[in-house]
């Protein structure tokens, strides 16, 4: 089987609210089974739009104007709703950005963690409970019985993110879309969560699309990276290659703009305006998008 798990081909989309402004410009990328792919870019670069398109939850204000998203060879954009909802939550799942808002405050953890198992796999309550205990063990939560019985507000942010990760991997999906899953967490917790996602991904053989604006996070977890600007793919390649030998001037400017732990007093270096001018000229836009 040489067919990639996900193949995005020439995907273009516009925002209907923004007077038809393009949000994705002819984006193509492929994702192999079990691969961790970073989608990196600043706000408005289109990384979240790609993630939402993969999950079939594009807002009504975004209209796809061309291209395909093939998942195991089948076009997600042209798929009937029923088939799509079969795949979503089972083969493709989501680790959301903010663990504070991603768990229902009024339901116990057990109910939320077992929803997918019961609805998609038809497990009984007792089966789902057993599986939930296993999952919590996998994400290294002690006292699993107590946690299952708890409400979200009784748990820390890191704990909640672990539960959301367990929930995302519960049905052995083929693809997990991680939407900036560490942005809302403390730096120390971030590191643990990244390690956990990597370990879960390896154990389950799952491919991960990792949406982030943080090149430091990319370096820690991603096999390959796609860098976007204004809805256009600027550079695409293996993480190590891109970070050590960037091909595009924007990539090197971004790397240079990051904090340097080896030179703590050097200060931050913003991406020069000349780089943005060049980017805009390449993409063919007049105004810098914010």
């Amino acid at each position: 089987m040489t067919q990639p798990l996900v193949a995005i081909e020439g995907l273009s989309a516009i925002s209907t609210r923004d007077g038809g402004a393009p949000v994705l410009r002819d984006v193509s990328l492929t994702l192999e089974k079990g691969e961790v792919r970073g989608l990196v870019g600043e706000s408005g670069a289109g990384k979240s739009t790609i993630a939402k398109a993969l999950l079939g939850i594009l807002p009504s204000t975004v209209k796809v104007t061309g291209g395909f998203i093939r998942f195991e060879g089948r076009d997600l954009l042209a798929m009937p709703r029923r088939e799509l909802s079969d795949i979503m939550g089972r083969d493709i799942t989501l680790i959301p950005q903010d663990p504070q808002t991603a768990l229902n405050p009024a339901r116990r953890i057990e109910a939320q963690l077992t929803d997918g198992l019961r609805l998609k796999l038809g497990m009984s309550k007792a089966q789902a409970h057993e599986r939930a205990l296993q999952l919590l063990d996998e994400v290294q939560i002690r006292n699993p019985e107590r946690v299952l019985n708890a409400y979200p507000h009784e748990l820390s942010g890191g704990m909640r993110q672990r539960i959301l990760i367990a929930s995302a991997f519960a049905l052995n999906p083929k693809l997990v879309v991680a939407d900036e899953p560490t942005t809302a967490l403390d730096v120390t917790v971030q590191k643990e969560i990244l390690r956990l996602i990597r370990r879960m991904q390896e154990a389950h053989g799952t491919a991960v699309i990792f949406v982030t604006h943080d090149l430091g996070v990319v370096a820690k977890i991603c096999d390959r990276v796609t860098l976007l600007y204004a809805g256009k793919v600027i550079e695409d390649g293996a993480t190590a290659d891109m970070l050590t030998a960037p091909k595009h001037i924007y990539t090197s400017a971004l790397i240079a703009a990051g904090p340097r732990y080896d030179r703590p007093n050097a200060g931050l270096e913003p991406v020069p305006e000349a780089v943005f001018r060049q980017l805009r000229a390449e993409i063919g836009i007049a105004e810098r998008r914010v």
Binding site: L55, I57, S60, S85, M88, G89, R90, T93, L94, P96, Q97, D98, T101, A102, L103, N104, P105, A106, R107, Q112, D115, G116, L119, K120, Y151, H153, L164, S167
Partner: protein, 336 residues
Amino acid sequence: MTASDLLNRLFMAVLTLLGVAVIVFCLLRIVPGDPIAMMISPSATPADIAALRAHYGLDLGLPQQFGIWFMDVLKGNFGTSISQRRDVMELIGERLPATLELAFAALVFGVVAGGVIATLGTLARRTALDPALDFINGLFLAVPDFVWALALVLLLGVFWPVFPLSGRIDPTLSTYFHTDFYLIESLVTLNFSAFGDLIAHMVMPMLALGLPLAAIVVRTLKEALAEAMVQDYVLLARLKGMSPLRLVLQEALRNAVGPTLTLTGVQFTFMIGGTVIVERIFSYPGLGNMAIDAVINRDLPLIQGIVLTFGAIFILVNILVDLIAGWLNPRGAVHG
């Protein structure tokens, strides 16, 4: 709410009722009108009037009158009705169940109808039904209970007479009741002919009181549901394959119900006030209807008793609402 919170609330409730007692007592003595003048025959001599005054203690000073009445109230004795010459507690005890049944029916109707419509509206988001619903609901919000009562009398009592216009039960039915909770008793004793008749009498006053409540429930609940439906946890549940109806009822409702509950509590106390005029319009033999008679007759002990009863209901409802809110929201609840 913890146990000490509850005790605190109950203590405050007693203080509030004390305040209500003082205010209603003073107000009634400031307002012009003499209960004795309503009772005497035209041939009464000044000596007769003075004797009657002394009999009811109206010749005493105000603080003394209040002291006597208040001490009696503490012992559970609300005095004797001047116009009906019967024990006030007994009179209230006979009428309160009718009002409680009516108000509770209107509450259930308002909450259920409002809840169902808000749920349907939430399911119909982004369709043409949604703005149409908001528009109609806006009209319903603008119509008060007594206007509904009059409109219903015309519609369902006169033009299309499906429901009886007045009273609580058909007097020819000659059912004997052991309690004054006719509706509950007829249900418990499986007396369905009486139950049906009671419901038929109750429909119009219940709608008059319940429709404004339903409109408010729709407005607040729909808004809160819309807010909850865009939360990440709803998105995740949707991805896991949860049906739209379950998304609304299981994921969104419990997080959205807080403001509606608080407002329903406030609205319920207004509704108890509304029973006064609505019961009058439908000649429904409840406490509110009796309150109007008591005021017309300047029946001071009866008015005082009724106002204190209404006050106690207001306070109890508010405490109850807080208890339910705490139970619904695990973040505010005590675990143990």
